[in-house]
């Protein structure tokens, strides 16, 4: 089985090297990357991986960010040119964590009839500035106490991993496939993706300056809050308000809204060597026990994906489609013919 990861990056030099090294150790065979006008050294890191034959690099020089289009292009290339059986669509600040074995093993156990597996988002909270992000950022939002505030960056979410398809189309965030015949696996999320969106003030400042240039003014409630803070000259304060200091960590652990999660830190320590990363350490991921699975099931249930209201809404969508088919002239003609045949048989 061949597993390809696609990756979009813009000025992510503090995270992109471990990101690629981690996934190559976790079961990814090859990477297709889009570098969007990076100026901080990201380009050189991507080029180094390309020179070693691990990565195919696409450069986008236009200011406007066309997220869905680029992700779709990379996913198609992954299937058409690099023979991907499965494709993971990642950003530079995401680490995709298989629950047992490796990414390949987990995907190999997906029953044939399913073409899409969703990964569960794990949001790591920003911690005071200091050394390497993975050493500091070992606290994440608890899945069983989800934040549903629409202006929060930390809402529960899913992203799609899909079987290789040279005609695939992805939504802007890579969360869903558009008009696809690939069937999603429901209720089971065998991969988690660890998200480190805010790692330092400097990175935060640049990220939203870039986004503003690339996307324009409005995007979502959280993004609007950031831009308003920038206009008011209060960006530093805004970042500080997002940062979780030691007291806040203690409080969050106490009330169950935060949990300590050192899995990525430990994995990156295991593949670190002389300031760089080794690519052939072959990380192995512990098989979760039934105790872990039971706790994870509670996090998954908090997504509310399987609630009756959603099922009814889906039925409401399917019904008119069936009705439209039934009303088609060919179907109606067939029905008439059948009726006539029955009548004839009865007379004969």
């Amino acid at each position: 089985m061949k597993l390809v990861m696609t990756l979009r990056a813009r000025d992510e030099a503090d995270v992109v090297d471990p990101q690629i090294a981690f996934h190559l150790n976790a079961g990814v065979d090859f990477i297709v990357a889009t570098d969007h006008r990076s100026q901080d050294g990201t380009t050189e890191i991507l080029e180094a991986y390309a020179a070693q034959g691990h990565l195919h690099l696409i450069r986008e020089e236009e200011e406007e960010m066309r997220e869905g289009e680029w992700a779709s292009r990379m996913a198609r290339i992954a299937a058409a040119e690099f023979g991907a059986d499965w494709v993971i669509n990642a950003d530079a600040d995401e680490f995709w964590w298989p629950r047992g074995g490796s990414l390949k093993e987990v995907l190999a156990s997906v029953p044939e009839r399913y073409g899409v597996v969703r990964a569960l988002l794990r949001q790591f909270v920003p911690r005071p500035n200091g050394d390497f992000f993975a050493e500091r950022m070992t606290v994440r939002v608890s899945g069983s106490a989800p934040i549903n505030d629409p202006t929060s960056l930390f809402r529960p979410n899913l992203k799609a991993i899909h079987r290789g398809d040279s005609a695939v189309s992805l939504s802007a965030g890579g969360h869903t496939l558009l008009d696809s015949r690939l069937v999603p696996m429901r209720g089971w999320y065998p991969v988690e993706f660890f998200h480190f969106p805010l790692r330092s003030f400097e990175q935060f400042d640049r990220k939203y300056a870039n986004l503003r240039a690339a996307l324009g003014k409005s995007r979502n409630a959280y993004y609007d809050d950031v831009q308003r803070a920038r206009e008011a000259g209060r960006l530093g304060e805004f970042y500080d308000s997002l940062t979780i200091d030691d007291d806040a960590v203690e409080q969050g652990l106490g009330d169950g809204s935060l949990v300590v999660d050192t899995r990525l830190r430990d994995a990156l320590r295991a593949i670190r060597s002389d300031g760089g990363f080794v690519l052939d350490a072959g990380l192995s991921f512990p098989q979760p026990t039934v105790v872990d699975e039971a706790a994870y099931a509670v996090d998954v249930a908090a997504l509310g994906e399987a609630d009756i209201i959603r099922l009814q809404r889906r039925l409401d969508e399917l019904e008119p489609r069936l009705l439209a088919l039934e009303r088609e002239p060919s179907v109606r003609a067939l029905r008439k013919l059948r009726r006539a045949a029955r009548t004839l048989r009865r007379r004969a």
Partner: protein, 339 residues
């Protein structure tokens, strides 16, 4: 009311004696057993119960684990020849635990219009194997607060059926339901728990995986379900020991699970089997009802127990919602193909 239990066994000597004795004491009047080529002493244990007149033994020499067919044959026999009013379709590693009194006590008041009862499957987790009798060791049970929907896990929330006797009945594979039956299922109340001990020792796990894997690869048209395949591929790549160990719960995980409520201590079966233990020269290790000074009565749950139980059983409907969703996905694909 007459209650008959059917059981299909192949090489289950470590559990079958306790299984048959438990049910005869818990309200089952008669047992119909199918022995499928056992070689580990299971046959002799079943024969000893047959000699007592409380068990009809069917020998099934063919390979292929045609479970649905063999269970159906037993369930029909129960109705046609043994005068059953209710039939429980059990596996050798299942103990059907009535929530109150005896199995008869909980089945008798089921309203006439319902013909099928869904029993709540309760899996006990594998703990380190020190060679002791399984029920003495395995006293920790999974308590899911939310459904595990992993298709390759054997901890998915499921139910098993007991049904009113019917000489034409067809039992589906796995005893999860009846096929084309006119009986109305009682779906919202689960008066019976099935205490389930699927993984008891290294040797037993290896044998089980081997038998099921061979049946699926050589004899069954349909592909195996997730956990069978996972086990069988581990067996073929020489990693069955590792797979067993990965499934087992060590002390650290057990403590963590007990602390956060994912696991609970459940000694009900252990305690009852201790009560039933005898040292007779019959080849049986457990007493028949006639050999006890007074009939066994299982404790009735308190209303607190019932509340906790309802909470746990809620995962069954949550898991059903996921199954409905998956069926809707398949339905949508068919619609898309027509459009």
């Amino acid at each position: 009311m007459r209650l008959v239990l059917t059981v299909l066994a192949r090489d289950e000597a470590d559990v079958i004696d306790a299984q048959v004795a438990f049910h005869l004491n818990a309200g089952v009047d008669f047992v119909i057993a199918t022995d499928n080529n056992s070689r580990d002493g299971t046959t002799e244990i079943l024969e000893s119960y047959a000699r007592e007149g409380c068990l009809q033994l069917i020998r099934e020499p063919s390979e292929g684990l045609r479970q649905g067919e063999w269970v159906t044959r037993m369930a029909r026999l129960a109705a046609a020849e043994f005068g059953a009013d209710w039939v429980i379709n059990s596996d050798a590693d299942e103990f059907w635990w009535p929530r109150g009194g005896s199995l008869k006590d909980v089945l008798a008041p089921i309203p006439k219009r319902y013909g099928v009862v869904h029993a709540f499957w309760r899996s006990f987790v594998p703990l380190p194997d020190d060679g002791a009798f399984f029920a003495e060791r395995m006293t920790v049970r999974l308590s899911q607060r939310a459904p595990i929907n992993d298709p390759t896990s054997f901890y998915r929330p499921v139910t098993k059926v007991a049904h009113r006797a019917d000489p034409q009945v067809v039992v589906g594979r796995g005893n999860h339901g009846l096929i084309d039956s006119a009986f109305v299922p009682l779906t919202t109340w689960h008066p019976i728990e099935v205490l389930h001990f699927p993984l008891r020792s290294r040797a037993q796990w290896r044998r089980k995986v081997e038998l099921q894997g061979e049946a699926f690869t050589k004899h069954i048209e349909r592909a195996g379900t997730g956990y069978h395949l996972k086990g069988y591929s581990a067996l073929r790549s020489g990693e069955i020991e590792e797979q067993h160990d990965a499934l087992a719960i060590d002390d650290e995980a057990a403590d963590r699970g007990l602390a956060d409520g994912a696991l609970v201590l459940d000694t009900r079966l252990r305690d009852v089997l201790r009560e039933l233990r005898t040292d007779s020269a019959t080849g049986r290790s457990f007493a028949l009802p006639s050999e006890l000074p007074r009939p066994l009565t299982l404790p009735k749950p308190t209303s607190t127990d019932e509340g906790a139980y309802a909470g746990e059983a809620a995962v069954l409907s949550e898991a059903d919602a996921v199954r409905v969703q998956r069926r809707l996905d398949a339905f949508e694909q068919r619609l898309l193909a027509l459009e």
